[in-house]
Amino acid sequence: MLQVIKNRLEQGYRTSKYPKEPINLYKRFRGLPRVNTQCDAAVVKRCADACPQDCIDAKSRRIDLGRCVFCGLCETLSEGKFVTFTQNCEMGTASRDDLFSTGDLPALAEHSKKHFKKLFGRSLQLRQISAAGCNACEADTNVLNTPFWDLARFGILFVASPRHADGIHVTGPISKNMLAATITTYEAIPSPKVVIACGACAISGGPFYGSEDIVGDLNSIIPVDLYIPGCPPHPLAILHALINYFK
């Protein structure tokens, strides 16, 4: 018992004050990219050719944030002249098209479907479906339940059954072997329900795009309400998206 108390004192109170106070991430962290649209065309082309995800459109100079894995290669190659990564995690969008971006994303809070805010603003219960990603999206979603983030203080919970849920939170590119289970889980949730695609995989297939063993785009089987880009999205990105879309 003494040990328990001693440890409790050592650990103290660790929950962040977010969103009242911002959380600052280390400068090396790669969050929302900022694109210099005036950049030399040769540099842009070089980045577009080298991008492992083929997600830079050299013509419009937009990056598909739904497919980008934030590997940082375009920043390195262009020496920051074409792309620089900010530490901004505010990347959730309500529309897939908004993710083709030069770094300006619409404010998520204003694009939320208003009835969702009314329905789920005070209590949101989500069912997680893990569908053939790499488990890092899952890991950084799980982190939201640790004391630092303490997701429950926002009235948001991940629940153990679709029957208890208001919606699904999907990670992974939906392998063919998870297709039936994904749809069954979705159908088991009572309407109205929300669908969240978390991570590059669920949005576009992510690192596995083009594989014949995956569906690759959640929206092609179930209409998605909220997109959270990243590979994986930082816990802060997930939290920001959930709060702004639903609160």
Binding site: Q3, V4, N7, R8, Q11, L25, Y26, R28, F29, R30, A50, C51, P52, Q53, V69, F70, C71, G72, L73, T76, F85, Q128, I129, S130, A131, A132, G133, C134, N135, A136, C137, E138, A139, D140, T141, V143, N145, T146, P147, F148, F158, A160, S161, G172, S175, K176, N177, M178, L179, A180, A181, T185, P207, F208, S211, E212, D213, I214, P232, H234
Partner: protein, 501 residues
């Protein structure tokens, strides 16, 4: 074993030098090696210009390679030595080469084979997973079956578990996976080279550095690219940080599974602090984008060193205190002790690797046996707790965390900086072979690359430690109470996606 070729890990080998044996000789050689305690690192089929061939890499304290033409079917090696069991199932699934007399011949990931041969499991893939999967059943008046998954009750990867129980007692647990199969190997051998590191890093997200290193080292060995000392230091630190973060998280989860919540909360947060150190190193909590062919993308300057050093100074005592809280509470030990035991004999038979193997008394640690990066010059960990139960697997992890911390301190004190990274185009040599091995946090990760006469990748084979260890979990549950399943499961914490590829 005299007919197999002894090779080094991360060493380019000309394919022509790999002994190409008659199948019977090949089979006998592998079994002979296994009988002398040899374990399987890789055993797979590949298609070489229309001919399907087999290739195996075995390890004793050295590595051996050999190959043969694949017969349409062959007498199973598993019937004589269990450690081949998963590999033979995989060969059957991927190439339609049947292992006759295999005692447990079932699909691995549920996908059609790539050779167009008749499916060895008699599956028609228009049907949903698991097809006609023959679950092992126990019959009797009081026997009942519990089925769990694929979708689980938390934020967990999918998999199907089937328990044959009598009351609370589990006779047998069958673990049927495949839901996470996304075609990783097929992608790796067909996409442009630029995509390779991204895919390697996402084979198992919690083993980003482990798999990333295996790939980078394999390609570096093939292409003859040297990595400077500074980059090796960063790579080694990154691998150890990955180990610490995962072990810490799992120790917390073990505590949670015996309803002792405070340590779970503390370790949950502390794990995040270690992930954030990976972010200090390379800009991502999982180490994404850090390891690349030729070195690392971010050098470690004085600033990063200091941040790492200071944070370790702060966290290490906390880790020790919280661990003490877990491992010295009698109520915790009451649940951990003698739960989910895998005997040394069984561990050896099925070839357990990593901390699970070490907890069962198999000392193998690839950092010592096949050192890469800086490991040759670093002290080994010693492990004295080898009862093979949940407590052993927990304690081993604690010791590994302390050891890994020590390694990082040693490396932080080394004053060599990596040269800044420049992305490079790589040309692979023709007709070559390489096998890379690293001790990632879960155990032995291995990648194998074969190139054709043009120097393009002919076969890319990946093995995650989970490929060996899932069977260990099934064995651990024999004669246990079903209520101890979460605990046993967490003590292994295996990867679904790393297994399913």
């Amino acid at each position: 074993m005299d007919k197999l070729l002894q090779i080094g890990h991360n060493e380019k080998v000309n394919r022509a030098d790999i002994p190409h044996l008659p199948f019977d000789t090949f089979r006998r050689q592998l079994l002979e090696c296994a009988a002398q305690g040899g374990q399987v690192v890789q055993f797979f089929a590949y298609d070489d210009q229309g001919t399907i061939k087999l290739l195996a890499v075995m390890r004793t304290d050295k590595l051996y390679v050999g190959g043969c033409d694949a017969p349409d079917s062959f007498p199973s090696l598993t019937a004589e030595s269990e450690r081949f069991h998963m590999f033979e199932r995989e060969i059957g699934e991927q190439y339609g080469i049947k292992a006759e007399g295999h005692p447990w011949y079932k699909m691995v990931r549920y996908h059609a084979n790539c050779s167009g041969k008749k499916d060895v499991f008699g599956n028609d893939y228009r049907q949903d997973i698991p097809g006609n999967y023959p679950y092992f059943t126990v019959e009797g008046e009081t026997v009942h079956e519990v089925a769990v998954g694929p979708v689980h009750a938390g934020i967990i990867e999918p998999g199907h578990f089937r328990f044959q129980c009598c009351g609370e007692r589990v006779f047998h647990l069958e673990i049927q996976l495949g839901y996470q199969h996304r075609g990783v190997e097929k992608l790796l051998q067909s996409v442009p080279m630029k995509r390779l590191p991204i895919i390697a890093e996402t084979i198992a997200g919690d083993t980003t550095i482990g798999h990333g290193l295996c790939q980078a080292q394999a390609i570096e060995a093939l292409a003859g690219i040297q990595v400077d000392e500074g980059a090796k230091i960063v790579r080694t630190i990154a691998l150890e940080l990955e180990r610490i973060a995962n072990h810490i998280g799992d120790m917390g989860a073990l505590s949670l599974d015996v309803a002792f919540n405070p340590p779970a909360a503390y370790f949950g947060r502390i794990r995040g602090d270690y992930l954030n150190l990976s972010q200090v190193l390379g800009g991502n909590r999982f180490g994404r984008g850090l390891v690349r062919v030729g070195g690392v993308t971010h050098v470690m300057g004085e600033e990063q060193k200091k941040l790492l050093h200071d944070k370790l100074d702060e966290l290490t005592p906390e880790v020790e205190h919280v661990s003490k809280l877990i491992f010295f509470a009698s109520s915790v030990n009451g649940r951990f002790d003698h739960t989910g035991t895998v005997t040394t004999e069984n561990a050896e038979k099925i070839g357990l690797v990593g901390y699970a193997g070490r907890a069962s008394g198999l000392p193998y640690d690839a950092r010592i046996s096949f050192p890469t990066e800086c490991y040759k010059d670093l002290p080994a960990n010693s492990n004295g707790i080898t009862n093979g139960d949940v407590r052993s697997r927990g304690r081993v992890r604690f010791h590994e965390v302390i050891h890994a911390t020590r390694l990082i301190y040693i490396l932080l004190d080394t004053i060599i900086e990596a040269t800044p990274y420049t992305p490079q185009e790589v040309q692979l040599p023709p007709d070559s072979f390489v096998v890379s091995i690293n001790e990632a946090w879960r155990g032995e990760v291995s990648h194998c690359i074969l190139t054709d006469e043009k120097g393009t990748i002919l076969r890319y084979k990946v093995k995650d430690p989970s490929f060996h260890n899932w069977t260990g979990l099934a064995l651990a549950l024999r004669d246990e109470e079903i209520s101890d399943f979460p605990l046993c499961n967490k003590s292994f914490n295996l990867s679904y996606c790393g297994f399913d590829l």
